[in-house]
């Protein structure tokens, strides 16, 4: 009995909220109508967007209440109100969601109130009937739970009225996607910038510095050539060493930018070369990547570096002797999977290599999934969107 009353009590609180909201709705409707009328004057243009925002907040509050009661959230989809006063007013008036909200508000001002009023007689009858039926005879309560049904009714109606139109929902999703893309694009631009700075620094500190040193030694050797041939010989020897080191460094930098073997052999050939040099027994499975047009260079490079990193990790940490690499051409993406039969337990968040891998992939709007249960196997799956 106590539980029944408690639940009925909570439901009543919901209904009281609905009733309160209904009361507030009268005011809101008044404000909106006033603002709409005042649109004729200059002041109205300033007031209208504010009152529409108030409308949105009220509707948003109800959405949250309904979401909490039913356990299923009610999505919202509004056009943003931005810019100067008239643009805001135009957006507020032009947004179909404003009229949906108004419709709900008018309806709710009626049914929200009505349902709350219905609860009062239900309480009185319920306490009497269920007091005997449930409290004394120990049967299931029949009347008081009706209050919960009243809230259900309110939730269902409100939900139906507050749910945005499919077009609005679609455009809201699109807006969200655009935001997501601008974010990853900004990330990609930042990553690209960082990459350029790294390359610039590598060249500046490495090959460039060595070439300067080399040039100096050649110059000194020329001066010493007549007077001290031995010294000149020694200087030239040093200069040649410097030249070789500069070449080695340049090769290193080039590999970091775009591995030459990718250009020569394409992704599958380059991955096979990686596999052969990994120190593991690696099987490479190609599902359509080698046939037909190649993926964009950035996608190929990202896939290559991800696989290189995964195989290096597998060889270094997993204790595995075998691994497999899968490359799959999908209509709008490239799928890469690297699996090793090692001991697993790799930390999916940790490791600078893995972080770099995620960043590289995220910059191309791709995804990285990693599973590594203790005892293995470790599986890294990467999807890179691309146009073939």
């Amino acid at each position: 009995m106590r539980e029944t009353v408690r639940r009925a009590g909570w439901a009543s609180v919901e209904l009281l909220r609905a009733a309160g909201l209904a009361l507030a709705s009268y005011l809101s409707i008044g404000v909106v109508i006033f603002a709409a009328v005042a649109m004729a004057t200059v002041v109205g243009a300033g007031v209208l967007p504010e009152s529409v925002l108030l409308l949105r907040r009220t509707a948003g509050y109800k959405r949250r209440l309904v979401g909490a009661w039913t356990g299923e959230s009610v999505p919202e989809a509004y056009r943003p109100l931005a810019g100067e006063a008239f643009a805001r007013a135009r957006a507020a008036v032009g947004d179909p969601a404003t009229y949906r909200d108004l419709r709900w508000m008018v309806a709710h001002a009626g049914y929200g109130w009505l349902l709350a009023c219905c609860a009062i007689p239900v309480w009185m009858i319920g306490l009497l009937v269920d007091g005997v039926w449930c409290g004394l005879l120990g049967k299931r309560a029949v009347v008081l739970p009706l209050i919960e049904r009243l809230v259900d009714l309110d939730a269902a109606w409100s939900r139906a009225l507050l749910l945005p139109s499919p077009e609005a929902l679609r455009s809201a999703r699109l807006a969200e996607r655009v935001e997501e893309l601008s974010e990853t694009r900004a990330g990609a631009v930042a990553a690209h910038g960082a990459e350029l700075r790294r390359i610039e620094r590598d060249l500046h500190d490495g090959a460039q510095a060595r070439l300067v040193a080399l040039s100096m030694r050649v110059g000194l050797a020329r001066r010493a050539y007549e007077k001290d041939p031995d010294a000149a010989h020694k200087l030239l020897e040093d200069a040649q060493d410097q030249a070789e080191e500069a070449l080695t460094e340049l090769r290193h930098v080039v590999r970091g930018i775009h591995p030459p073997i990718l250009t020569d052999r394409g992704l599958v050939g380059a991955v096979r070369a990686l596999a052969a040099g990994s120190g593991l027994e690696v099987s490479v499975r190609d599902d359509g990547v080698e046939d037909g047009p190649r993926a964009p260079a950035a996608v190929e490079a990202a896939a290559y570096f991800v696989i290189a990193e995964a195989l290096t990790n597998a060889a270094k940490h997993s204790g595995a002797r075998r691994a497999s690499v899968g490359l799959v051409r999908m209509p709008d993406r490239l799928r890469v999977a690297v699996r090793d039969e090692g001991r697993g337990g790799a930390d999916p968040s940790g490791g600078s290599g893995l972080l770099g891998m995620r960043r590289r992939v995220a910059a191309l709007d791709g995804t990285v999934e990693m599973t590594s249960p203790v005892g293995g196997p470790t599986l890294i799956e990467v999807e890179l969107p691309c146009v073939w």
């Binding site: 040649q240 070789e244 080695t248 250009t263 052969a276 040099g277 120190g279 690696v282 099987s283 599902d287």
Partner: protein
């Protein structure tokens, strides 16, 4: 000796011609793109072909493909492949039909004129010249193997053998006697479980086959994957 050069970069091509001429060799033809190589070789029948890997029209591995084609068309033709960077995979492809008269070196090595000319002579003489970088990669790969049980000196000897050096050169490089080198080589072969072989390309092949075992395994696994794709 008579040499055909394939190199698309004019600067490097002229440098190479200069270098070879100054050493008393004759450059009979120069090719500056992949498709020109084979006809030039067939026409001039040189003593050796010096080929760059990356050349027009595709700027991919035209030179390497030309080298493989040349060795198929003209068996026994000594070929020296030069590249801005070395790939184990390419070395394996070149070595697939024998190490005799074959060289695969970084372009950087040309700067060490004496050594480069020595490598060229070696290749023309039916020997092998494999870039230290390739050998290094091969050696680091077989790290959890008997290679580990070698002494540092024996590893150096193995390294030089894999590059295709003969005993006398190894002795000179390490500043030891030839007898000491022979002893080290004997030890290396015993530790790796390889049958002893004379100096020459057979020895190089044995050493490379040993170092390359991992890659051979991979090749098997790869073709398995390929056949799975075709199904």
């Amino acid at each position: 000796m008579r040499v055909v050069i394939a190199e698309d970069n004019a600067l490097l091509r002229e440098g190479m011609v200069l270098l070879l001429n100054s050493a008393g060799h004759e450059v009979v033809a120069v090719a500056s793109s992949g498709p020109e190589v084979l006809p030039a070789l067939l026409e001039h029948r040189p003593d050796v072909a010096v080929l760059d890997v990356r050349m027009p029209p595709g700027f991919r591995d035209e030179g390497l493909r030309a080298a493989l084609a040349a060795r198929r068309e003209m068996p026994g033709l000594p070929v020296l492949v030069l590249s801005q960077y070395v790939e184990e995979t390419y070395a394996a492809e070149l070595l697939a039909d024998g190490a005799s008269g074959l060289g695969y070196l970084l372009k950087d090595r040309v700067g060490r004129v004496e050594e480069f000319l020595d490598a060229l002579e070696r290749v023309v003489g039916g020997g092998t010249a494999l870039d230290p970088e390739v050998v290094k990669e091969l050696m680091t790969r077989r790290r959890d193997d008997p290679v580990d049980s070698l002494t540092p000196r024996e590893r150096e000897v193995l390294h030089l053998m894999a590059e295709g050096r003969d005993n006398a050169t190894i002795a000179r490089t390490l500043v030891v006697s030839e007898r000491a080198v022979s002893k080290h080589i004997g030890n290396v072969f015993a530790k790796l479980g390889l049958p002893p072989s004379d100096s020459g390309h057979r020895r190089v092949l044995a050493v490379l086959a040993y170092l390359n075992k991992g890659a051979t395994l991979n090749k098997g696994a790869t073709s398995e994957g390929e056949s799975a794709d075709r199904r």
